[in-house]
């Protein structure tokens, strides 16, 4: 039974892109965020269709061929060999105009999958910084029904090593120079003053102990005055006698010899 070849999927003009808002987490080393396409698939998909996200390396996006059925969908585990995979399978109703939705989709945010090697589609972290290109693909029961255009290449972050960080300060602050110079000069003046005061004292005490060398002493030599001894008054009863001979008590005159 020959069935007619499936119609090629309708090409929608929508271009997927990373949200322009300044979200620091929209591009990390293994994940990236995409704007959620709203009202894009309504005309081409009915409620039972699934919308997939195709992720391919930027240089492999041209070689990507839409899988003819759900069983042929390349999965996350085959990314290193097939250079592309499909993930984020969601019902078309999730992208409908009326659906309340978060504004971004996060690709690579599921770290729990991919280990068991199962057949379920996995939104695992991307293994390398890329660059990658993505597009949305609407898959019906008969195969792909509609697709969007490929996005611009998305390059993930590459982290540098912390050893490249130089912690040295840019330049010396003015504080240090002021404090150091002023304190050093004050300290020097104090030390000089202390040495001067102590030196002067040592000088003075050295001079006071010297006893005769007139050239160093500054004070005038005070003579000790030795008064000459005054003559002692003669004891009463002494006749004058030549000085130095002492004093003798006078004797009564001897009786005169008889005549």
């Amino acid at each position: 039974l020959l069935s007619s070849p499936p119609a090629p999927p309708a090409l929608l003009p929508y271009v997927p892109r990373v949200p322009p808002a300044a979200l620091p987490g929209k591009l990390t080393a293994t994940t990236f965020a995409l704007e959620r396409p709203c009202c894009v698939f309504d005309r081409h998909a009915n409620a039972s269709d699934a919308v997939w996200l195709v992720v391919a390396f930027a240089n492999a996006s041209d070689a990507f061929r839409n899988p003819p059925s759900r069983a042929d969908v390349p999965l996350y585990e085959r990314l290193p060999t097939a250079r592309s995979y499909m993930t984020l399978e969601a019902a078309a109703a999730a992208y409908a105009c009326s659906a309340p939705s978060p504004a971004v989709l996060r690709v690579g945010g599921d770290t729990a999958c991919g280990d068991q090697g199962g057949w379920d589609p996995c939104n695992g972290p991307l293994p390398s910084p890329g660059p990658y290109r993505v597009k949305f693909l609407v898959m019906g029961c008969q195969g792909p029904k509609a697709e969007t255009r490929w996005s611009d290449p998305i390059l993930l972050r590459r982290a540098g090593s912390p050893s490249t960080i130089d912690p040295a300060p840019a330049r010396r602050g003015g504080d240090v120079v002021v404090i150091t110079s002023i304190l050093a000069s004050l300290g020097t003046v104090l030390a000089a003053a202390a040495l001067g005061a102590v030196g002067t004292e040592a000088w003075r005490s050295l001079c006071r102990r010297d006893s005769g060398t007139g050239t160093f002493s500054r004070r005038s030599y005070r003579t000790h005055h030795i008064p000459p001894a005054l003559p002692q008054p003669l004891p009463p009863g002494c006749r004058c006698s030549p000085p130095g001979l002492g004093c003798f008590a006078p004797r009564p005159p001897a009786p005169c010899p008889a005549e």
Binding site: L23, P24, G25, K26, T28, A29, T30, T31, A33, P102, V104, R106, G108, G109, D110, T111, G124, P125, R157, A159, G160, S161, P162, I165, D166, P167, A168, P169, A170, R172, G173, D175, V176, I179, T180, I182, L183, A184, L186, G187, V189, L190, A191, A193, A194, A197, T200, E201
Partner: protein, 260 residues
């Protein structure tokens, strides 16, 4: 007396007043340095891990110098009032020693302020936060200190990284080697937490949606207290030293004029 009685009295009065001020400033310096050493902001582990905690050494010296200044000021007052040469000589010598120590403390504290750059803390955070394969006990101790301090800092000051959460994205780190980038673009403590301590919206935090993560860097919360400490020790010590310089010169002049 070599000078007139009035001149000596005025000089004595000035010296006593100068010593009273030195005593009070000494107590203030001790109190200030005890406050800094007690680490009210819990930032000491970060400084310890830089292996250059000279600011704390300067504060410790400040404690003892302040106390010494207080004791010496009392000695100085007694010596000046009694005009005792020996007491004043002891006072001058000990004051000069204390002066030298306080000089060292001031210059150290002033120099250390320049050392605390954002890059220093960034490198330390990236290399030590959540580090698991530590080389030795000392390394392990420092890594644990840094991790604990950063966790508390991010929770209490509502900040992330040194300049912002992108620090964790721009560089590889010990944290990155333990936690996958897809789950933890930055540590979960960077997320806005609810009353139970879990993130309000983890997906929003991972994407960086405003309101669900802390977008500020923590550098201001770290450098603010540290700079205040360094500034306080350095400039207050400098002011005390300038005043002490004048009092010491006056005392030396007074000492040289006392007759035996």
């Amino acid at each position: 007396m070599a000078k007139s009685g009035d001149g000596i009295r005025i000089l004595q009065g000035l010296l006593v007043f100068g010593n009273v001020v030195i005593g009070m400033c000494g107590i203030a310096l001790t109190a200030e340095c005890i406050f800094f050493v007690s680490d009210p902001h819990g930032l000491y582990p970060l400084l310890e891990a830089t292996e250059n905690d000279d600011i704390y050494a300067a504060a410790w010296i400040g404690i003892f110098v302040g106390f010494a200044l207080f004791a010496l000021s009392i000695l100085g007052i007694v010596g000046v009032i009694k005009s005792n040469r020996t007491l004043l000589l002891v006072y001058i010598i000990l004051m000069l020693t204390t002066y030298a120590f306080e000089m060292a403390s001031c210059i150290t504290a002033a120099t250390q302020r320049d050392f605390l750059t954002p890059n220093l803390f960034l490198k330390q955070m990236l290399e030590r936060y959540n580090k698991s394969d530590t080389d030795n006990n000392n390394d392990k101790w420092m890594a644990e200190g840094v991790t604990k301090t950063w966790d508390e800092l991010m929770l209490q000051k509502h900040c992330c990284g040194v300049r912002g959460p992108s620090d964790w994205q721009e560089y590889t780190s010990a944290f990155r080697s333990r936690h996958k980038d897809a789950d933890f673009p930055w540590p979960h403590n960077c997320c806005v937490m609810d009353a139970q301590g879990s993130p309000v919206n983890l997906d929003g935090c991972k994407l960086g949606v405003p309101g669900y993560y802390n977008s500020n860097g923590c550098y201001d919360a770290i450098s603010g207290p540290m700079n205040t400490q360094a500034w306080g020790v350095a400039w207050f010590g400098f002011a005390i030293l300038c005043w002490t310089f004048c009092v010491l010169l006056g005392t030396m002049f007074y000492w040289s004029r006392i007759e035996y």
